[in-house]
Structure formats: structure tokens, C-alpha cells
Assembly symmetry: C2
Homo-oligomer: 303 residues x 2
Amino acid sequence: MSQARNVAVIGLGSMGFGMAVSLARAGFTVAGADVNAEAAQRFAAHGRAAATPAAAASGAEIVVVVVVNAAQTRAALFGRDGAVEAMSPGAVVVSCATMSPKDAEALAFETEARGLLYLDAPISGGAARASEGALTVLASGGEAAFAKAQPALDAMAKTLYRLGDKPGVGAAFKMVNQLLAGVHIAAACEAVAFAKRLGLDLARVYEVITSAAGNSWMFENRVPHILEGDYAPRSAVDIFTKDLGIVMDMSRDNKFPTPIAGQAFQMFLMTAAAGMGRDDDASVARLYAEIAGLSLPPKRDAP
Amino acid sequence: MSQARNVAVIGLGSMGFGMAVSLARAGFTVAGADVNAEAAQRFAAHGRAAATPAAAASGAEIVVVVVVNAAQTRAALFGRDGAVEAMSPGAVVVSCATMSPKDAEALAFETEARGLLYLDAPISGGAARASEGALTVLASGGEAAFAKAQPALDAMAKTLYRLGDKPGVGAAFKMVNQLLAGVHIAAACEAVAFAKRLGLDLARVYEVITSAAGNSWMFENRVPHILEGDYAPRSAVDIFTKDLGIVMDMSRDNKFPTPIAGQAFQMFLMTAAAGMGRDDDASVARLYAEIAGLSLPPKRDAP
């Protein structure tokens, strides 16, 4: 496996940065690139900061692409100074952005046409787990792609699901998760604002619901942001206008109705339209509060 | 506390029956009544089967009313042969049905006007926990009502939340929980049917989601019913047309929009309209499957 010791990470946002650091800690030689030169420079303490995806991918057997969506993944791989032009036959692209199965299949097809391997590998777990090498990876792809990517997956993930032998399956699982996650965030925000309208003590609501049948992973995780008035983006509203937007596209493409997700999508859009797109996704609760003239715990200033 | 050893339970459905059995096991002398004479007769092995709420409540210091809604609670208390006419001053009504805070306040007002005590005490936990004396009770009411009801609460509940000193607060907490529970069931059904449309292995979807951020208490609890094709009603679709219907009423009364709950409410209504109102609430998934021509695991026959 010595030839797999060189890894590139394209995209050094909070997730990609943590993953790159986990790879470096596991002994890989890591090169990182980001469209934001400042993010790349911050990475210089952990590995080689490259100016372009191609420069990062040069000499790497594993190229982890952890950007926001399919379009950015396409640009990172096939755009000007894209990674594929610098990759050698048999190297693997590990694609982590959330996207539709259709986009994952198309990117895999084009990557494989260049003699490269492709692993559809969306991730779950947040920035903290990324930096601990404790992500969950929802992966699908061929045997060779898994074999080539395995050492890097071991360094980045606590749980690796092998969900199928074709790219697109991992993406589909991720989108089912995002449908639920988005609905649960919007529902948590609706319920907490409703509770405030009823005059209930919100700390008590949190205590009761988290030990009752109305609980969700997202309720438990996001409602403290509301209670603390802390809307610094751990994950922004715009992430869910994007992800539930993909669910809407898939809904239409597959002629399958998703009315609950559709309503949640509209709530994220309203929150973004009201100017909170870059704030934490728990800001949907602030939208309800603004509409109804409620006083939630006040927004804290950024430190 | 010897005068509190006589308890009446009005409503011997799966919840009330379990609670009455828990009270008998704890040493109370229990009288039970139900509009369904057969349910009352089944209870005769555990206590006194009474023909009417008044006959059950005669001599009881604690009267637990565990029927479906506010209207049935009103009938059990104030209708013909209702419980209050047989209760002595200072006895307590423990009202467990899910209802709006407004209804809980009105019932408390009328009960207290008869020189009786009233505890607003909606419950959570299902029939199995009811029979184990392990319910969660979301209670509010005056000090005297809590003191009088305490021995029975100890026998029925594992967790007792004292949420306020006025009836209506317990009901409000319960409705916030039901809003979330209803949305989460509908979302779970939408997500599982969507996953089926995408061709995913549903057992794998259950495994992945229950260990990911898309999880909810309801997803974890209800999706196995879909996987097993088991729609025998643990909790029926009609319970959520009722409970989300109460949320809709409260929404309108409080001029507070609840679009996510509203969409979930419509999905339960559609499922009931399609003839599945008395089936398990996971039947919302069958509605999606029928609409889209999907094959979920087939419905098992009732044993």
C-alpha cells in the first residue's frame, strides 16, 4: 500500500480540513487545495498547500473531493487545473459532496473513462468528527475503487457502509438521510416556536421532548442553538436549501411526491429569503418567531 | 393515605387496561369502567368491573380518566352516570387523554367547581409501558391535586414531569410532543417509500438511518412495522388525524402557523381517506406506495 501514502484533499472547508488533518495524523502525505487561498494556507501547518486541484492531485493515488455540491465536484475534477489531468491511471477519486445519484453516476462515468477509479462516498458527522477521523461514510463503487481508497477511508471514518457496487447508491442513501434531517430540523424549529407561543418554558420543553417519543437526532442537536441564541453556522440554512433542493429535483425526476420534504424545503427557502441563509440552520425557528412576533432567546453576537 | 387506596379507571383500552393492572399490582383496590362492556369484563380478573363511570368512581379518592379525547373525557365525567356525581369532595380526577390546553382548562374549571381536584396528566409510552407502570406523565395542576394523586402516579409512571401549577400546561407539552411525533411518522413513511422508489434495500436504509443524523424516535420505532408488513394497530392512523387535528385547532386559535405539521396532518387524512384509518400509523407508507405503484413488503394477515 506504500503507493497510497500520497493523498490529496480538494476542498478545505470545515469538513475537508478536518479530514485532511485526520489523514495527516494517520501518516499520509497530504496535499490540500481550496478555491479560497486562505483556507489552503491554514492547511500548510499539516501538509502541502497546493494552488490548484491539479497541483494537489499530482502524485496522489487517492484524491478526496469534499466540496459543496456536484457542480463544484465537476469543477474540481474536470475544470481548469482540475484534478483528473494530474492523476495516474488506477488512482481513485473519493467523492464526498452531497449530490443526486444521477450526478454521482455521471461523474463516475466520466472519471472512469479517463482510466481512473471512482468511489461515491458521501459523509455524515460534522466537522468535529471529521477532525477526529470519526465520520460515517455511505459508500458505493467497484471492488477496485474500495480497495484503493480503503487506507484513506480507515483514517477518516469510524463507520464505513459499503452500500453497493455502483456509484450512485451511496448518494441515494445520503439523500434519504438528508430528507429526514431537513424535515426534522424544520419540525424542531416549528415545535419550539409553537411551544413559545403557548407560553411554555423552552428549557423544560427540551428536557421533556428529548426523553419522549417526539425526539429526533436533529431536535436534540439543534434546539440548544435556539435556547442559547447561538446562530453561528455549524451547518447553514443554505446547506438545506441545497440538499432539500436536490430531494425536490429527485422527486420530480422520479415522479415521486415528497410533500413533507417539500414543505420543509419551503421553510428553509423562506428563512434564506429573510436574510438568514448563512446562519445556522436552527434559524428556521427565528423565522417563525419573526412571523409571529415571539421573543426567542436573543441572538448572541459572534465572538 | 389509606383513603386513597380506592382508585377508579375510566377507559379500559390498551392504555387504561395496563394502567389499571399496574394500580392493582401496586396494592390499590381498582374499579374499572368502559363504554365497551367486553373490555370491562376482561378487567374483572384484576378488579371490580363497573357498568358506568359513576359506579366505578363510587368510593374512589382517585379517578383516572384515560379515554381518547376531550369529548369522551367530558362524557365520562359529566355525562349520564358520569364519574363526578359519585365522587366525594376532595377526590381527584387524573385526566390522561390528549387534548388541547383550552379543553383541559375548561374540564378542570368545571371539575373544581364541584369541589373536586383536577390533574391535567397526559401520558406517553404505549401499552407495554402502561402495563409495567412505566409511563411518562406530563402533569400540571395545583399542589393539592398532585398530593392526592401521587400514590396512583407512583404506581403508573416511571417518569413524572411536574410542568406547572395550572391544568393546561401538561396538555400543551403533550401537544408539542404530538406535533413532532406526527411529523416524524409521516416523514419516516415518506423517506422509506422514497428509498424504495430509488431501489434501495430497505433493511439497509433502516440500519444506516438509525445510526445517522436523520434518525428519530419514531423512525426507529415505526419503520420495522413497514419492513415486516405488520400494520396491526399499535397506534392507529386515526390517532394522528385526531392529535394533529388538535394541533391544527390550536394553530388557528393561537394565530400561529404550523406548515410542517399541517402537511403531515394532510398525509394522515389521505391515509385515513384511503381506508387505512384503523391500521397502524406506519400505513402512511402504504399510501405513498399505492400512489406510486411501489411494492413494499406485503401486508401480513392479522393472526
